[in-house]
Symmetry: C2
Subunit: 109 residues, 2 copies
DNA sequence: CAATGCTACTCTGTATTGCTTAGTACCACT
DNA sequence: AGTGGTACTAAGCAATACAGAGTAGCATTG
């Protein structure tokens, strides 16, 4: 799927929160997870800026750990505020999603 | 629902296209339609910038008509390219939407 | 006829977000 | 020494939605 950029605004951060919520993980792995999920064009630069934002907004805890196959990794996990934010994200998504679905369905009547 | 701003990026234009596709309409009415649809905080400034963008991208035909209850209205209708864009929008939406749903469902397993 | 309120459009500037591009650096393998 | 995969950083750009102010037509009310 081409050029989803604009449509990903506002949802990509939520996806990253969701991925982190599953298990402690790090930037590079998050990129691969997103790619595997179908967001194939999401690149490192994008994810790292999101991670920095999450850190600045105090939604994550961070722990640096060495890796055996490369440079050290920064592991992210959600803190309490992060869980709240994730919950709010899904709530918003549900709202917007249902309105869009409704709009689309109406068009077929 | 509060502060959907970021999540509306990339979908609001599609909503406007969809609304125009139903019947020839004008900016002010589009705002009211969006508000009624559940996008209550969408204001005129936002819609008019979208309409100007649609015009610039040659996705709409425009006709100015007088109104009996106020200033004249600029009526918008989709041209062929507009219909193509609308179709692409729903395709993209379907894609993103299904990935998000999948991500959310996975989290409950 | 002045004031108010609804209708209707225009314009300037701002914040946020994701993307691009480039760079640094660690490690394993050949 | 060179290559390729791993892993993070950082500066600048483009697109979008929003805020806020202004202009203007028309109807109703006092």
């Amino acid at each position: 799927m081409d050029n989803l950029t604009e449509m990903l605004k506002g949802v990509l951060e939520g996806c990253v929160l969701e991925i982190i919520s599953r298990k402690e993980t790090y930037g590079y792995e998050i990129v691969k997870t997103l790619n595997a999920l179908g967001f194939e064009d999401v690149v490192e630069g994008t994810v790292y800026t999101i991670l920095i934002r999450l850190e600045k907004n105090k939604l994550v805890d961070i722990e640096k750990k060495p890796s055996e196959i490369g440079p050290p990794r920064k592991f992210y996990s959600l803190n309490e505020e992060g869980w709240r934010e994730l919950s709010m994200f899904w709530e918003k998504w549900g709202y917007v999603s249902s309105r869009l679905t409704q709009l689309k369905e109406d068009s077929r009547v």
